[in-house]
């Protein structure tokens, strides 16, 4: 009886391995992170959610290849980033920036400093937009605390030291460009 139980357990495990990661579990584990990555690019809540849904639909289409993906989190973040960049080209971010800034400021600042903080954040975000492509990506991904430098390097296809260098240069450039 015990042997049969072990055998069935082995079969079950083999099936799990062959089937790859469960999509529902992936959505549960990573939808928050992917939403934040998408939001940092498109700066609109509805658009960010739509992008996350698209990411998982893409994953569903490539469900058979999931077994071969070694690092699932950088892979998902990379897909999200690319989709968000595509979406940002189609949607004008200026139209959605005010609402986004109000949301950001309300989370961070007390009511009396709300307007002032919103203005400063707007300046920072505009400065981030003017950064070179890789510096901007490295800086925004480093803001997501769930991602290590190694994972950011995997997403960007660069080395860890290269990522650190990009983040450092991005910050330096922002300091230069922000008005006093």
């Amino acid at each position: 009886m015990q042997a049969i139980g072990e055998q069935s357990l082995t079969v079950f495990s083999a099936e799990r391995v062959l089937a790859g990661p469960d999509l529902a579990a992936l959505a549960r584990d990573y939808s928050g992170l992917l939403y934040r990555v998408a939001l940092s690019v498109v700066r609109n809540s509805a658009e960010a959610e739509d992008i996350v849904q698209d990411v998982f639909l893409r994953v569903l289409e490539r469900e058979a290849e999931l077994v071969r993906v070694a690092e699932i989190r950088p892979w998902l973040v990379r897909i999200t980033w690319n989709l968000a960049i595509d979406r940002r080209r189609k949607v004008r971010p200026d139209q959605m920036e005010d609402l986004f800034l109000a949301e950001l400021a309300s989370r961070e600042a007390p009511t009396d400093r709300l307007f002032e903080d919103a203005q400063r954040m707007r300046q920072v975000l505009h400065a981030i937009e003017r950064l070179p492509k890789y510096e901007r990506q490295a800086l925004l991904l480093s803001a997501m605390q769930e991602l290590s430098n190694a994972e950011i390097a995997a997403v960007m296809g660069k080395s860890e030291s290269g990522v650190r260098s990009l983040i450092f240069r991005a910050r330096a450039r922002l300091r230069e460009r922000l008005p006093d």
Binding site: G32, L57, Q123, L140, A143
Partner: protein, 204 residues
């Protein structure tokens, strides 16, 4: 030394990192994934698979062959049935009641008699029933019997009433024979006339 803008940059970046997904996003994603998975499952089931091609082809061929056989069998059965019906009608009709004759128009439309008609017109004409077929399909009406003449009525009565000897007398041959016998019997009462005197050649 920390730059004076670092605080603003960090606060902005931390605000981005602290963003929370809208309520129910995960459930909506799961729902959409489930819906799409069902669609994909149906699409995969309908997708053409080469390893199934041979038996699908066989199945289709068998179905087509069966259909063709059915059409041929039904057609031949109908033709046979029509012929049998026609033969039965012909046998049931009395010999004295011939098929009604009717003069039919040669053509109902001008296109039929037109030479070198268009193939489409010819196709339509073939589908029409021929006048002969229409006539044969019509119910056969008995010919109205005319009243017999007086002589005919007498003949009929004679046939039904008279004795066989009397009927025999009606025969021309028998009557001629009787007439001959009566003539012979009648001639027996007369002596033959004397032969005429021979001519001597002397004139008075």
């Amino acid at each position: 030394m920390k730059h004076r803008h670092d605080d603003t940059i960090d606060r902005t970046l931390s605000a981005l990192a602290a963003a929370t997904p809208p309520n129910g996003m995960e459930a909506r994603i799961q729902q959409r994934l489930q819906y799409r998975a069902q669609e994909g499952h149906v699409a995969r089931r309908l997708k053409w698979r080469p390893d199934r091609a041979w038996w699908l082809g066989m199945l289709t061929g068998a179905a087509l062959a069966g259909l063709l056989c059915s059409v041929v069998l039904i057609g031949s059965w109908r033709v046979h049935h029509e012929r049998a019906e026609q033969a039965a009608k012909t046998a049931a009709a009395p010999a004295s009641k011939p098929i009604s004759k009717r003069i039919l128009p040669v053509s109902s439309g001008g296109t039929e008699s037109a030479p070198c008609a268009h193939p489409a017109t010819v196709g339509r004409m073939r589908h029409r029933e021929s006048p002969a077929k229409q006539t044969s399909a019509e119910p056969q009406r008995p010919v109205q019997e005319r009243a017999l003449t007086r002589e005919e009525q007498q003949l009929v009565r004679l046939v039904h009433v008279a004795r066989p000897a009397e009927l025999t007398d009606l025969s021309f041959e028998a009557r001629a024979q009787i007439a001959q016998q009566e003539s012979t019997a009648f001639q027996k009462f007369f002596t033959p006339p004397p032969p005429p005197p021979q001519d001597t050649g002397v004139t008075e």
